[in-house]
């Protein structure tokens, strides 16, 4: 789908439909120093070319659909962030039932997205081994090796998707969350249906947790130390009472020791603590915590960040797992392999949250949308996407036409951590000056810890289209490998 570039009036390709999306390669460069040791590695993101300018001149009511289409990988997160920003442009408090329904959808989204990441994309690596046949190291290989686990992962994902679909009409297409609330109240019969499925979903999540914890303690002991294990800041939303949060609350930033640097910050003030660096080799912007500068101020977001930031989750099963996570990895867990464990814990938290919301009579309210015209010209909306904190920031004219947009996405915030992870893995596994298959597999897995929302990353495990380049100290290309 193409829309014009307002400045040049020239065609510009917009990746709107995930099916017709041009499938990119994950581009990685590894740079050696004079001694032939890995100096640094970079994960180049070449998507998201200036998509903020597409929005200029459009009614702000279209933002949900525009962003959900451009970022086809987590449309629900963009719907919610856009709707929350829209609420603030209307200057309305949305009906309580609408907030509960939006929360329900976000939990369903986190649940299905984490299920995809863990069961389909990542578990073949853990279960089948790094050096297993790449043709089998994917979800089909997993079905052959552990049909029960593979099937249960598919069930869990379907559960989340079906709930999203039941709320939003169609899986990802409808802009169901709108400025002022949501479009439709809870459908008849949905509550009973979903509550009836929950016991099976809890069992699936708990079986996967038991399995993965055991792997972390045994087979994955080395990866635990090599896959993105470094101190860093963490950022995300936290509830006012220190509880795990995914929709409301305030921003918190902690350091590797767990000291709170920022707490209870309104998203409106994000720019007072977060700055965005631009790098010549990537289209993504690199947000960082201003007072510490681009390097030391880089932070991680997403499941592990959320669990590191909160005091507790606030639901019994997930809290038990959180305590165990901290026993394994410390109060602030710094190894990115733990992102997978954090995802499984969050799945449990989502299931418990879905159960609590559905049992809350308030969610059945019929009044779900507040109507108003534009009452504020600038607003920031935030939500926790499965992959991390997502900011939408709009400025509109008096009629509601977009003048300026800034989006801060999870993958941008995690980009520096991904670079450090790839660097760490390259240092450990680079065999002389040769790019081996084993290295490529581990680089892929290192990136997958963050579940980046790039089209290349949604390929099945073992087949992520990769372009890895190795550069010598003089900047000359030593070797290139392209896969996929």
């Amino acid at each position: 789908m193409e829309i014009p570039n307002p400045e040049t009036n020239q065609p510009r390709t917009v990746l709107i439909d995930p099916v017709t999306r041009i499938e990119g390669h994950a581009k990685i460069s590894i740079h050696l120093d004079a001694d032939g040791q890995v100096e640094t590695a970079r994960f180049h993101v070449v998507e998201y070319r200036g998509f903020e300018t597409f929005c200029e001149g459009r009614p702000f009511t279209e933002m949900a659909a525009i962003t959900a289409r451009i970022c086809g990988i987590c449309p629900v997160s963009h719907l919610l962030a856009a709707a929350k920003t829209g609420d603030k442009l209307l200057a309305v408090t949305i009906p309580p039932a609408a907030e509960k329904l939006r929360r329900l959808m976000n939990l369903a989204q986190i649940c299905q997205s984490h299920a995809l990441s863990f069961f389909h994309l990542s578990s073949p690596d853990f279960l089948l081994g790094w050096d297993s046949d790449p043709a089998k190291r994917n979800v089909f290989g997993l079905i052959a090796a552990d049909p029960e686990l593979a099937r249960s992962g598919i069930r869990l994902r379907q559960f989340g998707q079906a709930l999203i679909e039941a709320l939003g009409g169609r899986k990802i297409h409808a802009a169901w969350a709108v400025p002022g609330g949501v479009r439709a109240p809870l459908a008849e019969g949905l509550k009973e249906r979903v509550l009836g499925q929950l016991p099976e979903m809890f069992a699936i999540a708990e079986r996967a947790l038991a399995l993965f914890k055991q792997l972390m303690d045994t087979k994955l002991g080395e990866e635990r130390e090599v896959f993105g294990s470094f101190p860093s800041l963490f950022m995300g939303l936290v509830g006012s009472d220190g509880r795990w949060e995914h929709y409301g609350g305030g921003l918190r930033i902690i350091n590797a020791e767990g000291s709170v640097l920022v707490d209870g910050l309104s998203e409106d003030a994000y720019a007072s603590v977060i700055a965005e660096a631009v790098e010549p080799w990537s289209y993504l912007k690199f947000p960082y915590y201003k007072p510490l500068g681009p390097e030391a101020g880089s932070y991680r977001v997403g499941p592990l960040a959320r669990l590191n930031l909160c005091e507790r989750i606030g639901t019994p099963r997930a809290d038990r797992e959180l305590i165990e996570l901290r026993q394994r990895g410390g109060r602030v867990v710094s190894g990115s392999l733990y992102y997978h464990l954090a995802r499984l814990i969050e799945i449990v938290a989502c299931l418990e949250g879905i159960e609590a919301l559905l049992n809350d009579p308030g969610i059945e309210g019929r009044h779900v949308r507040a109507r108003a015209s534009v009452n504020a010209l600038e607003a920031v909306g935030v939500s926790e996407a499965p992959r991390g904190t997502l900011f939408h920031h709009y400025r509109v004219d008096a009629n509601g036409l977009i003048e300026k947009v800034n989006l801060i996405i999870a993958t941008g915030q995690n980009n520096r951590a991904m670079n450090r992870t790839v660097t760490q893995i390259a240092r450990h596994y680079l065999d002389g000056a040769h790019l081996s298959e084993a290295l490529l597999n581990r680089v892929e897995a290192g990136i997958r810890c963050y579940d980046p929302c790039l089209s290349c990353s949604t390929h099945a495990a073992g087949s992520m289209p990769l372009q890895v380049r190795l550069y010598g100290a003089d900047g000359a290309l030593v070797e290139e490998r392209i896969r996929g």
Partner: protein, 237 residues
Amino acid sequence: MTVITLTIDGRSVATASGATLLEAARAGGSAIPTLCHLEGLSPVAACRLCLVEIDGDSRLQPACVTAAAEGMVVRTTSPRLAELRRTVIELLFTEGNHVCAICVANGHCELQDLAVAVGMDHSRLPYRFPSRSVDLSHPLFGLDHNRCILCTRCVRVCAEVEGAHVWDVGWRGEHCRIISGLDQPWGAVDACTDCGKCVQVCPTGALFHKGDGTEEKEGHPEQLQVLVRARQQGGAP
């Protein structure tokens, strides 16, 4: 009432004299695609989608304004017409900016339905990407020129049914566009009664209720006929 008989798509059709070919064809069970035509408004034959073949006439004629005549032999479908209709739809898509995925009318759009009907899976013509504006100055409604196909339904309904004549067609050629008042922002036109009839009859997502998001606009052009009939007949429907 005089009745005339003609042949449409091989079928013999009887109709009142003075009926258009479109009326006769529909009565006889032939579906002719239309876009600018809307029952209850005066015909303008702007879109050329309803063109048909008439024996003995080398030119194609728009069914919505051509009178049916005794003994006429008419074809509403042929490879030539199919090709032509597809081209008309491609022209409409390529001269504006139609991003259906984010459009208020997505799923409820006459232009989109016609694209499906004529088998337009892609455009063979290049997109022009004109630079057009969006007018959100009216308190209740919005106009996105990017999606306007200049069918003039809004112009006609406002002048002929509401009697306010807010809309006109301004400028020429590629600059041609719908204007309100004397080319003022819609919100500044005092003549507008805020009735919303133009929004209701617009076949695309060009006119919409402000605040409507993607896929939320469901126009009901057919409601116009209820109004027109009620006015003509006075009593019960």
